[in-house]
């Protein structure tokens, strides 16, 4: 039981604290920051009761682990500490609400629409929209299906529940496991699981033992850019928000794929915003746990996006879309939904 997640390697350089978007936005008075939570405080493990709630204010963007010269996996240490705290009954009010939704019908949001379902036997793709694309922004799921149907057969099994990622972020391993069992039954068969949300993608890959691809991965690797027949529907200037979970937990290649797709589309001008991979604040349970911090980060992100001069911010992640839309000030759209109108 040596120090977990390489925390022993810290040399106190402070790179993680400078890179952390929540620390940058809120200062250490509000959020202790990655080094404090993952490295310093955990050394007093017998006094962990005094870890403040703000351990839940980490957006799980993984930027700290990226810039760390010692390659310390701070987010994993933080998730483990969250699970410990959760076991001692200290859930945040926003998270409690989310768990209530799960207990009612298995989604992390309130169910407002009938569930999407498409039953095609032996389809090449099993599309898993996730809670946001499937419910809150059904248009995202519609766009994904439209796009997939261009080149593949698609099935969407009914009886889907939340993938479980938000529960992991809240520290609730019990519910997370229950959801996994329910979804796993639906994942039988030879179809390739394709998701709209990078949170779903990496969670399924890490915890379900089956392979899931984010839709941009599927489109570029399995379908191939050449088969995506885009048409020029007029010039649109776009800027890409690079979601943390897509870049850092699914993989940086997926971001390359986003640009590949955009560059292959006639009439699309891609403008870069400063720090395109800076966290929008939507992840890590921030949206439900600390909505004000999520909003602060989203507003800063929109300001950055505006300086690019683009007409619309595209984000290949429904959580990012949700959070950025709440900030207001610029058009925000899911990347694939946008793409689906350009065939």
């Amino acid at each position: 039981m040596s120090r977990p997640f390489n925390a022993d390697r810290c040399i106190n350089c402070g790179a993680c604290m400078r890179a952390c978007p929540v620390v940058q936005e809120e200062t250490v008075g509000r959020f202790d920051g990655p080094r404090s939570l993952a490295v310093d405080s955990s050394r007093f493990s017998h006094e962990v009761n005094s870890l403040r709630d703000n351990i839940f204010a980490c957006s799980m963007c993984w930027k700290c682990a990226d810039v760390c010269p010692s390659r310390i996996e701070m987010p994993r240490a933080i998730l483990r500490a969250r699970a410990d705290i959760f076991d001692r009954n200290a859930a945040l009010p926003g998270h409690t609400k989310m768990m209530q939704n799960i207990d009612v019908d298995g989604l992390s949001v309130r169910r407002e629409l009938d569930p999407l379902s498409l039953g095609v036997e032996k389809a090449s793709v099993l599309y898993f929209p996730g809670c946001i694309a499937g419910q809150k922004f059904r248009n995202i799921a519609d766009g994904a299906v439209r796009t997939l149907l261009q080149n593949s057969t698609v099935r969407i099994p009914s009886g889907r529940v939340c993938c479980g990622s938000p529960l992991e972020k809240a520290g609730d391993k019990v519910r997370m496991e229950a959801l996994r069992k329910r979804n796993l039954k639906l994942f039988e068969g030879r179809s390739q699981i394709v998701t709209s949300c990078p949170g779903c993608t990496s969670h399924i890959n890490d915890h379900y033992g089956v392979e899931a691809l984010h839709i941009v991965e599927y489109l570029v690797e399995s379908v191939g850019l050449a088969k995506l027949k885009f048409r020029n529907h007029g010039v649109v200037r776009v800027t890409l928000h690079e979601p943390c979970h897509l870049k850092r937990t699914v993989g940086p290649h997926a971001i390359d794929y986003c640009y590949d797709i955009l560059h292959s589309m006639p009439g699309i001008r891609v403008l870069e915003m400063p720090e395109p991979d800076r966290c929008c604040g939507g992840g890590g349970g921030l949206l439900s746990g600390y909505p004000d911090i999520a909003m602060d980060l989203a507003k800063t992100k929109i300001e950055d996006a505006k300086t690019s001069g683009a007409d619309v911010v595209l984000a290949p992640c429904p959580f990012c879309v949700l959070n950025l839309k709440q900030a207001g000030g610029m058009d925000v759209m899911d990347l694939i939904e946008f793409v689906s109108f350009r065939f």
Partner: protein, 363 residues
Amino acid sequence: MRHLDPVRTEFLVIGGGAAGMLVGTYLSERRRDVALVDTGTSCTALSTGCFNGSGINEDMLEFLLPRLMSNGLSMIRYGEQMLLLGNAGNRYRCRLAPQYTAMGTLESMQQSRLAVVGIEGNSEVDPELICSLLRQDAGLKADPVHISNRGRMSLNALCDALNQVDADAIMLPPLFPLRDYNAAMLELNERTGRIVFEPVTPLSLPGLRLAEAMHEMLSISGCRVMDHRRVTKLIQIGGRYDTAIVQTPGTTQEVNFSTLIIAGGSAIGPGLSISGKEVTDPFEAFGITRKPEVQGVSPITRALSSGYEVDGRYRVIMSNGNSAENVFACGSALAGISYPLGKGLLDALDCAWDAAHYAEVSR
């Protein structure tokens, strides 16, 4: 572990610090096919952002400085007389430093009144510490000033606060990211009518700015940047290295190359490994030596002077003592760059420049 399609490139650069970025930019601008793999950590980002070193390579600077400037970072050549101040109250002589870091010569400083400003919540500048040491050691008239602050301070608010300060020169903590730096510092200087400057601050924005500016330079050059990935293995065929395995937590990918340039940095970062007291090669292929080879020094000095050894053309010496045909190395990954201490970035950049040239003509 997903296998992505292999990538084929002419030059592969390992490491996205100052040395790697210089090599990548140079070769890409010469229309060569270059890929650069970088983990996302950058010890350049921890540096002072100032260029100090044992020699000055004018060709390299002629190449680098305009490119930094066009990406928002102006470097100024300071004469021997100009003193920079550090955020530990130390005085720093420097060949080349970013604009807005110098206050003046020692004489001019001794005739001015300096205000050292600390901003609440920002621990980069400790006004009492700096003023006390400058007064004691350098005979400067320096006084601490504290600005209280809630959340982010606007430029207007900062200007107003500084206008209340009675001094000829004002030292501020590093506050502005690269994109705002020049404009903000210019505005502060103009609106307050004083010399407003930053101290030399390691582990802070100045190093980040340099890393950012060089990264912009690299992206524009056409280099294929594969960031947030690590080279975990090098594969050779018949004594000649030709493939690197590049990994992320969930994916693995082969990169086939004709020439490899290792610029992964020292043992402080992920570039070189430490096993017990020794610095080792993470690829287990090349020799690690020490420069200077001094007896009876502390393990710290030994480790700092350890790194790859290269021949006269910057080709890496392998474990068997021969030069690698197509593998070059530069930057702080080399023995003799990190020690003696305080040499700064110039040495790393100089050898990167030379290595890039040798690598280019080797094909």
